[in-house]
C-alpha cells in the first residue's frame, strides 16, 4: 500500500494550477479515490497538483438565480451549507448520502465529478438538476451540461490539462428526493435515483430523474420523465413512469447485484424517490 514516488505541488492560484496541469500533472482534490488507487499502484501519476490551497476554488454562492459551487467544496460543505439546503436541497441530500463522515470531510464535489465513478452519487443529482459544469483549461473556461459531461465509466469530456472549476445548479423549488441502494462493502450506489417534481393545478408540470450506478454512466431517464409529466402524479402514474427508467439500459452486473436486479432496483427506487419528491412538491 505504498504509492510510487511522485512530485507534489500545491499552488495557491488557479492560473498556476492550470499551468501545471498543462504540463501533464494530475489534479488532486480530496484524494478519496486517487490516493487509494495510488496506494494500490493502480494509478501512478508522476506529478500531483494539490488544488486544496487554491482559495478561489472553494466557495458556495448564489448568483443570478443559480448556485455556483467551487470545485474544492467538500461533500460536507455541500451537505451542510444553508444556501444549498434551502435553494438546492437535492444536491445537499445527495451529498449527505456519500460515503461516511470522514470521506465527506475530505472528498470534494469537483473531484467526484471529474473522477466520474459510475456508482458515484452526485451525477444522479446533477443530471436531474440539469447542472452545468465549468471547466478550466489553458484556453480559459468552457461550460458543459451534466448530460454532456459524463461520457462513460471514469470518462468525461475533460481534455488533457483541463480541470473542473465550478458546478452550477439552479435555485430549485421542486419537490426532490435522492434514494440510493448502497453496495454493502463500498457504500457506493448500486443504484441511485435523484428525482425532482414540480406540480401546478394538480398536474405534474415538470419531472426530472437522474440515475447513477445502473450503467457505466449516469443519465436522465427522459422516457420516465415524459410519462409522468401531465399526469396527476398518482401512485399508478408514478409506477407507470418508474417502469420506464431502466428500459433499454445496458445495466452493470457484479457479485453484488446482477443486471436484472439492478434494473429492478432502479424501478423500485425511482418509484420511491418520486413518491417522496411528490410529497414535497408544492
Amino acid at each position: 500500500m505504498f504509492p510510487q514516488t511522485f512530485d507534489y505541488t500545491a499552488p495557491t492560484t488557479l492560473d498556476e494550477a492550470v499551468k501545471l496541469l498543462g504540463g501533464g500533472a494530475k489534479a488532486l482534490a480530496g484524494g478519496m479515490s486517487l490516493i487509494p488507487m495510488m496506494k494500490l499502484r493502480l494509478a501512478s501519476p508522476e506529478h500531483l497538483v494539490d488544488l486544496g490551497r487554491i482559495k478561489e476554488l472553494n466557495y458556495i454562492r448564489e448568483e443570478s438565480g443559480a448556485l455556483h459551487i467551487g470545485a474544492t467544496a467538500t461533500h460536507y460543505a455541500v451537505e451542510s451549507s444553508p444556501l444549498v439546503r434551502t435553494k438546492c436541497p437535492l444536491l445537499a441530500e445527495t451529498a449527505a448520502a456519500i460515503g461516511d463522515v470522514q470521506v465527506r470531510n475530505m472528498g470534494t464535489l469537483g473531484g467526484a465529478v471529474a473522477h466520474a465513478d459510475p456508482s458515484a452519487d452526485y451525477p444522479a443529482a446533477l443530471q436531474a438538476l440539469e447542472a452545468k459544469i465549468v471547466l478550466r483549461g489553458a484556453g480559459g473556461d468552457r461550460t458543459v451540461s451534466a448530460a454532456e459531461f459524463f461520457v462513460d465509466a471514469f470518462t468525461t469530456v475533460l481534455n488533457e490539462g483541463e480541470m473542473v472549476r465550478e458546478v452550477i445548479v439552479p435555485v430549485d423549488t421542486s419537490g426532490v428526493s435522492y434514494q440510493k441502494v448502497p453496495q454493502p462493502a463500498s457504500g457506493f450506489a448500486m443504484v441511485g435515483i435523484a428525482a425532482r417534481v414540480k406540480k401546478a393545478g394538480g398536474k405534474v408540470t415538470e419531472a426530472r430523474i437522474g440515475v447513477t450506478g445502473l450503467t457505466n454512466s449516469s443519465f436522465r431517464a427522459t422516457a420516465a420523465e415524459k410519462a409522468l409529466e401531465g399526469t396527476n402524479g398518482s401512485a399508478a402514474d408514478i409506477q407507470k413512469a418508474a417502469a420506464l427508467v431502466a428500459q433499454g439500459s445496458d445495466a452493470n452486473s457484479d457479485i453484488h447485484a446482477s443486471a436484472d436486479y439492478r434494473k429492478h432496483l432502479a424501478v423500485v427506487y425511482t418509484g420511491r424517490a418520486l413518491i417522496a419528491a411528490m410529497g414535497r412538491a408544492q
Binding site: 505504498f2 514516488t5 499502484r41 462493502a185 463500498s186 447485484a257 446482477s258
Partner: protein
C-alpha cells in the same frame, strides 16, 4: 506506601470497566508497527499474481541494484528453512512441503516468491516492482467441488485427485436409525469462505543480536510460545536463543493462531543482514495471504420419527483446505464432526470429511472454527425437519434436547457434555420474544402480504480447548503469580489475549483471592522471556483454562502467605481474608505487604518453606466445557427489494459463571456481529482462475456499526464442574449461535412460499428472487 493493602468488595461477577481500554481507545498502545529500532530495515514481499504457475526464472538484478536495497532473497535462498508446520494429524494425511517461499511453482494468488529488503519501506516497495519473474501460467481450480471432479487441474501434481484426506467417524447404529425412520430430510448447506480481517493486520519485526546469539521476534500472534518453539525449529536456532514478543495484538479471531511463513522469513532475513527488519502486512496482503475461515460444502441427512424424535444424522463435509495446510487446517472440520449432534440426544451419527486442495489461500481457525459450520448445519436441519413434520421449531428442539438429569452426557461423537440445562435459555428467549404473540402476528402479517420471519437457534459449543490428548500442542495453560516485596502483585499468564479483556478478568480473580485492590495487580502476557511457557488464546479457553491455572497458583500463594502470617503472629490458628492474615484468638492482623516483605527479608522462615512469594501452576483440564444458548431473531423482509431488516435480536447465552458481565456482553455483541457478517454480507469469492474478487474492503462487505441491530443479550447460568471457577468460555458463542438464527428467520419468512433453505450470505438479490418466485436456491 501503605503497609496494608486490603479491600472488602468482591470483584468477580461485577461489570468492571476494562483496564486495557484507555491505551487502546487513545491510540497509545504499542503494536508491532510501533516498534522502532536503530538501523531498522524494511521488507517488501513479492507475491504471485497467478493461482497456479511454474516459475521459469526470476531476475533480481534490477531490484538488487535499486536505491536503498540491501538484499533480495528468493525461494531458492530460503529453501533450507524448515517448512511452515502443520500441527494437525489425521490418518493418511497428505502434507505438501510448505516452503516459506515458492521455489519453482506457485500455488495461490499471493504466494510469496521473493523478499526485497531496503533501508526504507518505500524503496523496498519500489524495488519489488523491478523483479522480473517469468511465469508459465497453469490451469487453476478454486472451488472444492470442482477440484474433486475428474479432470480437474491438480493443485499438487503428485495428487491428481486433489484430496488431502478422507476422514470417517461414526457412532451408534446409523443404518438402523435410517431404517427405523418415518421421515428423512436432506439438504446441501454451504458455509462460505470468510476473511477474518482482524483490525490489525499481521506484522513482524525481527532483530538478530549476533554477539548474543539471540533472535528477538515481535509478531502479532495469539500463540507466542508456539511461535518460538516452531519458528526456532524452522530456522535451526536453539529455542532458548529466541525470544518471541506479542506486543499489543489488534484482534486475531483465530487467524493469528498460526505459524506463518513471514515469521520465519523475517527471522531468516534479520540473521542474514545482521540488522533489524520490519514487515507489516498490507490489507491487500491480509486478504490474500492470511488464513481464511469456513469453506464448507455440507450434505446433511437427518432421520426422524413422525413425532419429531431425531434418530440419526449423516453428514458429508467437503472442506476447502486451500493450497496448503497451515497449523490446524485439516483439523478444523473434525471439530464440526464432534459437534454435529448439537444439543440433541441422538446416538447415531455418521460423518465423512473430504479435505480438498484448491488454488486458494489455506483455510484454518476463524472464530468458532468448525463449530459455527456444525451448528449452522444441525440448526438448519432441525428447522427443515420441523417444517417437514409441521411442527413448531421450538417444540422439536425441546423434544430432542439432552435432559438435565442426563449430564454428564456421553455423545455419539465421543464427547462428554459437562453440564447443561438446554431448555432454560430457549424458554427465556421465547419469553423475551413473546413467542406465541409474534407467531400470531406473523399469521396476520402474511394475510396482508407482509413477510415476517421468526428464527430460533439453540447452539452448543465445545470450549476451553482442551485436554492435552485432544490437541496437537498441549491443551493445558500456565500462570505465575508473584507478590513483590512491597505487596504489589504481578500475574503472568501463558494465554495471549488479543482484545478479550483478561487484563481485567484475571485481575478480578486475583484481587478477590488475595483480597487486594485491583490497581495493585499487573497482568503480563505475550513475551516468552518474561512469561513461563504457555499455549495461548483461542478456542474460548483463556479464562476457563488460563484463569483456572491462575486460580490454583493463587491458592498455593495464599497457603504460603498464611504460613508466614501465622509465623509473624506467632499463632497456628489464623485466617487469610481481605488481604490480611488474622489471628483467630487475639484478633491481631498482618497485612499482605508486611508479610510479603517478611518473605523476601527472610529473617526467619516457617519450617519447610523458602523465601519469596512466587507460585507457578500448569493446569491440565480434565475435559472441554460445553456452553450453550438460544438466539431468536425476528426479521421483516421487503418483498419489493429483498432487503432484510432485523427487528429483534435476542441472545440468551449460558457460559457458566460470569467473571465480568460487561466483557461477556462485549464478547456476545462482537460474536453476533461476525455471525451476522457471515449470514448477511461477507464472502470471499474466487473466480475460476483463482483470483480473489473480494480482495479489498471495496468488495468484501464487513459488518459495520450502522448495520448492527440492537442486541438483547441475557444469560442463564449453569456452572461447569470441569474447573473450580465454574466458567465455560464465551468468545465464540455469539458467532456460533447467530448465523442459523438469522437464516432460520429469513427462511421462515419465506417458508409459506415454498422456500426451505437459503445459503449464506443472504443477499437481497437472493431474497428478492425467492420472495417473488419461491422454491429453494
Amino acid at each position: 506506601m501503605a503497609t496494608t493493602i486490603t479491600k472488602t468488595e468482591t470483584l468477580v461477577g461485577k461489570r468492571i470497566r476494562r483496564r486495557e481500554d484507555p491505551r487502546l481507545i487513545t491510540g497509545t498502545a504499542t503494536y508491532v508497527e510501533d516498534i522502532q529500532m536503530p538501523g531498522m530495515h524494511y521488507a517488501a514481499i513479492v507475491r504471485s499474481p497467478h493461482a497456479a504457475a511454474n516459475i521459469r526464472s526470476i531476475d533480481v538484478k534490477a531490484a538488487a541494484a535499486a536505491p536503498g536495497v540491501v538484499a533480495v532473497f528468493t525461494g531458492k535462498d530460503t529453501e533450507k528453512v524448515g517448512p511452515v508446520p502443520c500441527g494437525a494429524s489425521l490418518p493418511d494425511l497428505r502434507v505438501p512441503h510448505h516452503h516459506i517461499m515458492a521455489i519453482d511453482r506457485v500455488y495461490y494468488v499471493g504466494h510469496a516468491v521473493a523478499v526485497v529488503v531496503a533501508t526504507d519501506r518505500y524503496l523496498a516497495r519500489d524495488a519489488a516492482d523491478l523483479l522480473e519473474i517469468d511465469y508459465d501460467v497453469l490451469p487453476a481450480v478454486a472451488d472444492p467441488e470442482k477440484a474433486l471432479a475428474p479432470g480437474a487441474p491438480a493443485v499438487h501434481p503428485q495428487w491428481p485427485d486433489n484430496t488431502a484426506f478422507n476422514y470417517h467417524q461414526e457412532g451408534g447404529d446409523i443404518a438402523k436409525a435410517f431404517a427405523d425412520a418415518d421421515v428423512v430430510v436432506k439438504q446441501r448447506i454451504t458455509s462460505q469462505r470468510l476473511v477474518p480481517n482482524a483490525m490489525e493486520t499481521r506484522g513482524v519485526v525481527a532483530e538478530w543480536r549476533g554477539a548474543d546469539r539471540q533472535l528477538n521476534l515481535y509478531t502479532s500472534t495469539q500463540v507466542p510460545h508456539l511461535v518460538r518453539t516452531l519458528v526456532a525449529g524452522m530456522l535451526g536456532l536453539e529455542e532458548n536463543r529466541m525470544r518471541v514478543i506479542a506486543p499489543e495484538v489488534g484482534g486475531g479471531f483465530g487467524s493469528k493462531l498460526n505459524i506463518y511463513a513471514e515469521e520465519a522469513l523475517m527471522g531468516f532475513v534479520a540473521m542474514k543482514i545482521g540488522k533489524p527488519v520490519k514487515w507489516i502486512e498490507s490489507r491487500r496482503e491480509n486478504f490474500l495471504t492470511t488464513i481464511h475461515g469456513r469453506g464448507h460444502v455440507d450434505y446433511y441427512e437427518v432421520a426422524a420419527k413422525k413425532d419429531g424424535t431425531i434418530l440419526g444424522i449423516k453428514l458429508k463435509i467437503i472442506q476447502d483446505l486451500g493450497a496448503y495446510h497451515q497449523l490446524l487446517t485439516p483439523a478444523i472440520p473434525t471439530l464440526s464432526v464432534l459437534m454435529m449432534p448439537g444439543l440433541y440426544k441422538t446416538k447415531n451419527v455418521s460423518a465423512d470429511i473430504v479435505g480438498v486442495f484448491t488454488n486458494c489461500v489455506p483455510t484454518d481457525a476463524y472464530r468458532g472454527a468448525g463449530r459455527p459450520e456444525a451448528t449452522h448445519g444441525i440448526e438448519r436441519m432441525v428447522d427443515i425437519l420441523a417444517d417437514e413434520l409441521g411442527m413448531d421449531p421450538a417444540e422439536i428442539r425441546l423434544k430432542n434436547f439432552v435432559a438435565n438429569e442426563e449430564f454428564p452426557y456421553p455423545t455419539a461423537t465421543g464427547l462428554t457434555y459437562d453440564s447443561g440445562n438446554y431448555a432454560a435459555p430457549l424458554d427465556k428467549a421465547m419469553a423475551l420474544a413473546d413467542y406465541s404473540k409474534i407467531l400470531q402476528e406473523q399469521v396476520e402479517a402474511r394475510k396482508q402480504g407482509k413477510l415476517v420471519g421468526i428464527g430460533i437457534s439453540t447452539y452448543g459449543e465445545i470450549c476451553a480447548i482442551g485436554p492435552s490428548p485432544a490437541t496437537p500442542a498441549g491443551g493445558w495453560e500456565s500462570a505465575t503469580v508473584k507478590i513483590e516485596p512491597s505487596g504489589t502483585v504481578t500475574v503472568m499468564t501463558g494465554t495471549c489475549q488479543t482484545g478479550q479483556g483478561e487484563e481485567t478478568t484475571f485481575a478480578q480473580i486475583a484481587a478477590d483471592e488475595l483480597g487486594v485492590d485491583i490497581d495493585n495487580i499487573l497482568v503480563l502476557r505475550g513475551d516468552t522471556s518474561i512469561v513461563q511457557y504457555g499455549i495461548g488464546t483461542f478456542g474460548s479457553r483463556a479464562t476457563a483454562i488460563g484463569g483456572t491455572a491462575l486460580y490454583f497458583a493463587l491458592q498455593e500463594l495464599k497457603a504460603k502467605v498464611k504460613l508466614f502470617g501465622a509465623m509473624l503472629l506467632e499463632s497456628d490458628d489464623v485466617t487469610f481474608s481481605g488481604g490480611q492474615v488474622t489471628c483467630n484468638k487475639s484478633g491481631k492482623t498482618k497485612g499482605l505487604a508486611e508479610i510479603a516483605g517478611a518473605t523476601y527479608r527472610a529473617m526467619k522462615l516457617p519450617p519447610n518453606t523458602e523465601p519469596g512469594l512466587v507460585a507457578t501452576h500448569f493446569w491440565e483440564p480434565p475435559n472441554f466445557t460445553f456452553p450453550f444458548g438460544a438466539h431468536i431473531v425476528i426479521t421483516d423482509i421487503d418483498k419489493e427489494t429483498g432487503d432484510i431488516a432485523i427487528r429483534r435480536y435476542i441472545a440468551v447465552d449460558d457460559c457458566g459463571n460470569i467473571i465480568n458481565p460487561l466483557i461477556v456482553d462485549g464478547q456476545v455483541h462482537g460474536g453476533v456481529a461476525q455471525g451476522l457478517g457471515q449470514a448477511l454480507w461477507e464472502q470471499a469469492v474466487y473466480d475460476d482462475n483463482g483470483q480473489l474478487i473480494t480482495g479489498e474492503f471495496m468488495d468484501y462487505a464487513m459488518p459495520r456499526a450502522h448495520m448492527m441491530p440492537w442486541i438483547e443479550s441475557s444469560h442463564t447460568i449453569t456452572p461447569t464442574n470441569v474447573n473450580p471457577l465454574g466458567v465455560k468460555g464465551v468468545g465464540e458463542a455469539g458467532t456460533i449461535g447467530c448465523s442459523p438464527a438469522v437464516v432460520n428467520s429469513v427462511v421462515d419468512a419465506l417458508s409459506h412460499l415454498g422456500v426451505r433453505h437459503i445459503d449464506m450470505p443472504l443477499t437481497p438479490e437472493k431474497i428478492w428472487k425467492l420472495a417473488n418466485a419461491g422454491g429453494t436456491n
